[in-house]
Amino acid sequence: MMFGRFLRYAASALAFAAFSGLALAQGPVKVGMSMPQTGPLGAGGKAALLALQIWVEDVNQKGGLLGRKVEFIVYDDQTNPALTPSIYTKLLDVDKVDLLIAPYGTVPTAPIMPLVKQRGLLLMGNFSFQVNRTVRHDMWFNNSPWNDARSWSQGFFEAADKLGGAKTIAFLAADQEFAQNLANGAKQIAKSKDLKTVYEQNYPPATVDFSSMIRAIRNAKPDIVYIMSYPNDSVAIIRAVNEIGIGPSVKLFGGGMVGLQFTPIMESLGSLLNGVVNYNSYVPGVKYPGIEEFLKRYSERAVKEKVDPLGFYLPPFNYAIGQILEQAVTATKSLDHKTLAAWLHKNEVNTIVGPIRWDENGEWANPRVIMAQFRGVADKNVEQFRQPGKQVVLFPPQFKTGEVMGPFEKIRK
């Protein structure tokens, strides 16, 4: 009888050891991505990376994914689209990651869309704009609050309508995936509103001097100036407008300038930003459940690690990527990409940036792009942006805090 009991104990001990051995032998869940930490998107990328690292720590504190620790593998792609295909091939074949997140930004993400489609992989989008438009991958899920060019530009054109009497428009767009996607859509909307295009120019992404283009725009005397640019160009364009002037005819200026949401750039441009109407993903005052608590935690870490201390634009949405993956994996109890993708297409996910549901292209079914106007911004002051008021929200209606003002140059003085 003793022997029987001993046998039962031994059997269960053996089974337990075997099972945990199996679990240990499975190792961590590897999540891999490349993030632009240098190059034009670098300043934003570093902030986004910190948010993801916070998520990895949070989820590991709760026991990891499926009982396994999460290991986070990141490379720097320098915002260079030529580097991402080989980095993601390395992540898949050398590092053997289980889950993929896209790099921050349309330009580094565009080259890997065919790769993930060809290999049938789930890819979590990271603030790309319409990058799935031609490839049409059904396992792509974006984290950014826009859908197509209409969802982005609607607020901008409505502001023009409010100012009244706008008949002509000028377009200035970088020749790269993001700006061109937005420009194509915006031009169609402008045509449908009977706006006459008096100037349009695509510039190579490496352009550093915009004096001649700003001069040409001023010469064309447009009512609206719609700019689609990446951080380095955005800064150069704002400085050029300040140096040379865009002319008294311009009522509305801005639209699609990436970079004016990064805290270091906002601080460095200061009062030069006044009057610009530009897009954003979040400004203080917008009530999403849990976001203010996250931003407080983020801010403490960010100051220590010397990245964007306010972290309004990207970090909450990057943390949301982690939350999305967590919920999908936990609900399906699987790391199989097809299973996860099917679940995400069918379900709504609650995150610190609100509830998210996707359409068949993997973009938000309910976009909520914020269009805000910079007003009363002072130079060299980071803290002024913590309170609502420096970015007056014009759109969408549920977050609105004020009315648009113009003409552009008059209200800057």
Partner: protein, 291 residues
């Protein structure tokens, strides 16, 4: 886009300012390649290195132009060392040297570029000064001050160098060694030392050119590739060894680029320098004022 005389006039003015800057950036190459026949494709890379040194000094509080001037002596010494090495490794060894010399300088340019990336990262760097960000108003035109400042410095630099080459003893010796090395040797002067001195001057000038470069706009490590075309176009168009030719050639390049930018758009501008270079090499390889 409609044509406008106003825009054309502004483009020309801008082109003159830019052109003078291009001439100052190329004048070091005029000496090292034009006079000394050194295939110095690393000249723009050394200039970009000068920009980064200016960035560092400006971070310590120096005005960028002052920083540029302060950097001239150390760069002069650097130039002397580089030439000595080049001479021992290549010029001494004879005819095959030309081919390998080019490869050598490309290797050096690459090493400088990567060194800058490893040291500073790929991000753009800028400097701040009182004259960066403001503009002069001339009638209806607004001209950014940073271009005018670079233009001024460039003019002073080129005048100084031209006077040096024509009025001082060493300057004339440099010209002489370019024309007839044997005769110089017979007169008791050491051609190698003179060439070394000349190369040192060319490199020292590049330091100030680098300071102007970062005043005009942001710099990043790969910027030297853009300027290889511009500097060689200017030097070849000028005619090898001509100082005044360099100014004329720089202005031609600056104005052409500005007009192409205005009329055809920013995506065609990078080809202007090289297009001009090919045209000159095809039609009149000795340049405008060639020897």
């Amino acid at each position: 886009m409609e044509f406008s005389f106003e825009l054309l006039f502004e483009a020309v003015v801008f082109g003159i300012l830019l052109g003078c800057f291009y001439a100052a950036v190329s004048i070091g190459l005029s000496v090292s390649f034009g006079l000394l026949d050194v295939p110095h494709v690393a000249h723009p890379a050394i200039m970009v290195f000068g920009s980064y040194c200016t960035f560092v000094l400006a971070g310590l509080g120096l005005d960028p132009i002052v920083a540029g001037i302060v950097l001239m002596p150390p760069f002069f010494l650097l130039g002397m060392v580089v030439y000595r090495f080049y001479y021992e490794a290549f010029e001494r060894r004879g005819s095959d040297a030309g081919v390998r010399g080019i490869a050598f300088f490309f290797g050096v340019a690459l090493i400088i570029e990567v060194g800058l990336i490893l040291g500073f990262g790929v991000d753009q760097r800028t400097v701040e000064a009182a004259y960066i960000g403001k503009a002069f108003s001339v009638g209806d035109m607004r001209i950014p001050m940073r271009f005018v400042v670079a233009f001024g410095v460039a003019l002073v630099l080129m005048t100084a160098l031209t006077l040096y080459m024509s009025k001082t003893f060493t300057g004339r010796a440099i010209k002489a060694v370019a024309q007839d090395e044997q005769a110089l040797r017979l007169m008791g002067a050491n051609p190698m030392r003179i060439k070394q001195w000349a190369f040192g001057i060319a490199t020292g000038v590049s330091a100030l050119a680098g300071a102007m470069l970062i005043i005009i706009g942001p710099v990043e490590p790969a910027l030297d590739r853009v300027y290889i075309g511009r500097t060689f176009a200017v030097v070849v168009l000028a005619g090898l060894g001509s100082m005044t030719g360099t100014l004329a050639a720089g202005l031609i390049l600056g104005i052409s680029e500005s007009i192409v930018l205005m009329h055809f758009g920013a995506s065609w501008a990078p080809a202007v320098a090289f297009g001009l270079l090919l045209v000159v090499l095809g039609i009149r390889p000795q340049g405008l004022f060639g020897r």
